[in-house]
């Protein structure tokens, strides 16, 4: 892993300026984190990767004879060797993910999409099969895991189209997604996991199997940690009709305690089903999440 990291390139406030998820991912992965991920497996895969000068002793089958005829120079073709490992990105797109605090210049969903783009790029570079499952109370996107650069473009394209809305229904379509996972797989689950502590562990129980791994990234706005700054507010639920009038300064301390208890409780329950858990605040840089992902991936 590289020791030096350009943190500016991981700053979501900067990255938010980049509309193209392909570029964004390359900026993050190739620019800010060069070498932190395992290099591409080159070998006899079907996916052409690049040319390189022929070295003695190499199999002559790799020589591109057409290039030799044109340039009178021996060059070998290298192919991307695909793994039999799948990475499935699961993104919660419910209305609560659309929340954008006054301190943020982007919503939680935008942060999740940036993160997912980086994961997808890294996974693709490592030759993993790549899939995307986005849902709220309906399935918004379900791209089955496949390998190849076309799959990466499809993922980026799908990410562009995701918008927040609807209520959270974690169970909805879950079985459909899990049953579609081939062989060994890793689930990257990005959500705010609000109201999910009772059901989420049960859903991720498959992580106990040696074939699967899951990483739950809880994404919260700074407001959700600290409450907005105002003397009095009439809070209304984004995914419901309930309203509460209160003074945030008056309840802030108690709120923080209860929120932390909730996060801890969630983490414990997920670790009981061998699922990795990390809480991300949407004003943090992407590095923490990426390192967590690469750490897990490289263990495989």
């Amino acid at each position: 892993m590289a020791a030096s990291v350009d943190h500016q390139l991981l700053d979501p406030n900067h990255l938010n300026q980049i509309e193209d998820y392909s570029l964004l991912a390359r900026v993050v992965v190739d620019g800010a984190l060069p070498g932190i991920h395992r290099s591409l497996r080159q070998g006899r895969g079907s996916e052409f990767y690049q040319y390189r000068p022929y070295t003695r002793g190499e199999d002559l089958k790799l020589v591109d004879w057409k290039v030799f005829a044109k340039r009178d120079e021996l060059v070998s073709k290298t192919f991307q060797e695909s793994t039999n490992f799948s990475v499935c990105l699961v993104i919660d797109t419910s209305a609560s993910m659309g929340y954008q605090g006054e301190a943020s210049s982007y919503s939680k969903l935008r942060y999740a999409k940036m993160l997912a783009a980086c994961f997808a790029y890294i996974a693709h570079r490592q030759g993993d099969r790549l899939g995307l499952f986005a849902y709220s109370d309906v399935v918004k996107e379900w791209i089955r895991p496949r390998s190849g650069s076309g799959q990466l473009n499809r993922i980026f394209s799908a990410l562009r189209g995701l918008e927040s809305g609807g209520s959270t229904a974690h169970k909805f379509g879950w079985e459909q997604m899990v049953s579609g996972l081939p062989g060994r797989a890793m689930i990257i689950f990005i959500s705010d996991f609000l109201e999910a502590e009772d059901t989420l562990a049960e859903q991720l129980r498959f992580s106990l199997s040696s074939r699967y791994e899951s990483l739950c990234l809880q994404l919260l706005d700074p407001d959700e940690i600290d409450l907005p700054n105002a003397d009095s507010l009439r809070f209304a639920e984004l995914e419901g009709d309930r309203e509460v009038s209160t003074s945030p300064p008056a309840i802030r301390e108690k709120y923080k305690i209860e929120m932390n208890e909730f996060i801890e409780d969630l983490g414990k329950k997920l670790s009981s089903v061998s699922s990795e858990f990390e809480t991300l605040i949407s004003n943090q840089d992407l590095g923490c999440a990426l390192r967590r992902f690469l750490g897990m991936r490289n263990r495989k």
Binding site: L227, R234, E237, A250
Partner: protein, 668 residues
Amino acid sequence: MIEFAQPAALWTALAIGLPVLAHMAYRRVTKKFYFPSIRFIRPSQIPRTGKRRPSDIPLLLIRIILFLITATLLADPYWKSETTPVTEGSGEEVLIALDLSPSMSGWDGLKEAKEKAAEIINSNAEKVGLLIFGRSELEKIELGKEELLKKINFLSHYWTKGNAQLMLDQVPSMFSKNVTGRKLIIISDFQKSDWQTAYSNLVESGISYKLVKVGQKNGLKGRRFNNVSVMDARAVPAGPEKIRIWSVVRNWDDVNKTVEVDLFAGGKVQSIVTASVSPLGSTQVQFVLREGDFAEALVRVKSEDEFKLDNQRHLWLKAPPARRFGFWMPEQESDETDDEKSFLKTAVASAGDNGWNRWEWNQDQADGLRLGDDQLKLEILMVLGVGKWFEEEQLGRPLKIFLKNGGVVLATPGEPFSSSVSVLRSNGLMGYNFVRVAGGATRSRNPFRIGSLDEESALAEVFAGKSARDLYLSAIHKFGILKPGPVEHDTEIPLRDREGRPLALVRNFDGGGKLVFFPFRMNTVWTDIPLRNSFLPLLMELTQGKGIESSSRAWPVLEPGEELPGNQGLFTAGKPGAYRFEDQWVEVVLSSAESSPDTFSQKELSESLGGTLKNTEIKLQDQIVLEKENDPLWMWFAIAAAILLIIEMFWSRPTQQNTSSQANSIHA
């Protein structure tokens, strides 16, 4: 310019401080904030922070204007037109209302009143008028001071019972228009019987008033002393050729009085009786005279009391005319008809009492009626054995006229029975048809009996107990069975046999007349009813008509002011006395209410006249005038208030601006 009917209500405008305080003291908590989850958010007390300057100035202005308009609305604004004529006074008018009811002649009331009136006239420089009241018409006298004083000296009391309400009702219109002051001075004894129902809000009408009480003569607490009156006097027959005159003397004082009462007739005192009358009580005094000696008499109380008008009473000693009845019969009289006639004549002639309520058989009147003279006074006409003779003499028309004039006709059937029924039906007198004569074949069979009377009928009230048993034991040997015909008349069946067949038919006519038809003859061949005790009450009850009820068995007694219609004119009662009017002998007596010594105090009366006494009170009157001339503005203010209230409600509703901008940023 705008003026206000209730200017005190403008104080409510001070309430504009409320919205100002509200805008300075409180901050609205209406900002809606969408949040991912409110799971850990608990409600809490919203801090309210004061401010140095009011917030939301436009809304505050709207609220202040709303409060001001509401305050103005409560003050009942109206637009006073510049063209409204200003009431310019031409001085003050004083109207003296002088009570001339009969009671004023007692207790030196009138004398005292004249003195007071003269005093008022002399002491007032303003225009003074005199209003005389005490009967059904008011008399207004507007003369110069001298003439007015002379006029007052010649005034005397009326005989009619006092009517204070009439004066109070008409007083407001008696004043001239455009005067600055209207003052009414009422001079009266304020006798309770005259004033107890009087009411008029003189103050509201812009009239100041003053009550001058006269004729009290050392009375205490509204009660005067020393009055004895003859309350009633009547003459009744008292045995052969004698009449008894009895009178009631009342003592209005609360001490015992012994008085001499005499009977004055034929130019001299015929009899004197000394009577002791208990405090506030009455006693009867009787005199006996030979009948026919005198036509009228005067009962007098010899008493030196304070009110002399009620110390005597005139009465007629003549007997009132008897009630008359007569018969129509066929020319050829039969035994049956004779029997029937004698039974009925005896019964009806004995129907009166021992007094002057008596019945008289007057065949001349009946024969005159038969010849078409409908002006005759006959109360009951008995048509015996109705048959062909009735049709031949064309008696249907005079009979109908008699019935329409309120007469009572009693009819019995003739021979053959069927012809009686058809004659009555053809003349439109009865709508029943003949079926057959029951019991006509033989007399040996059991007689028919009268069925039980309808409990709610008038006959059932008359016949109860023994008298009812006597009626039910009556035997009817034969009678004609009738059934309703096609023509419906207002016919009652007060009497039926035990099988429900009619035994008496009664038809009432519009003019109060009544036709009673028995389907049997009133003799012993047909029935034993004429022999029974119940015959007379049955006969009189069935023949009791409106005309008979209304005919009084005494001469008419009127109070001054009352009227009696006659055939040619109208008799209006004036001074008490005995009068002859057409064929009536009329007694006019003073109203007994005038004898009452009770009077109202000025304080009690002032409540009925619009409150406490005020000398100058014309504002209200002016207001009434102005209301008529000015336009009320409350409706415009109400509309303005409603519009502002709607604007305020729209303006102050929770705005969506903050939440929508937040939502936009969420979905961005």
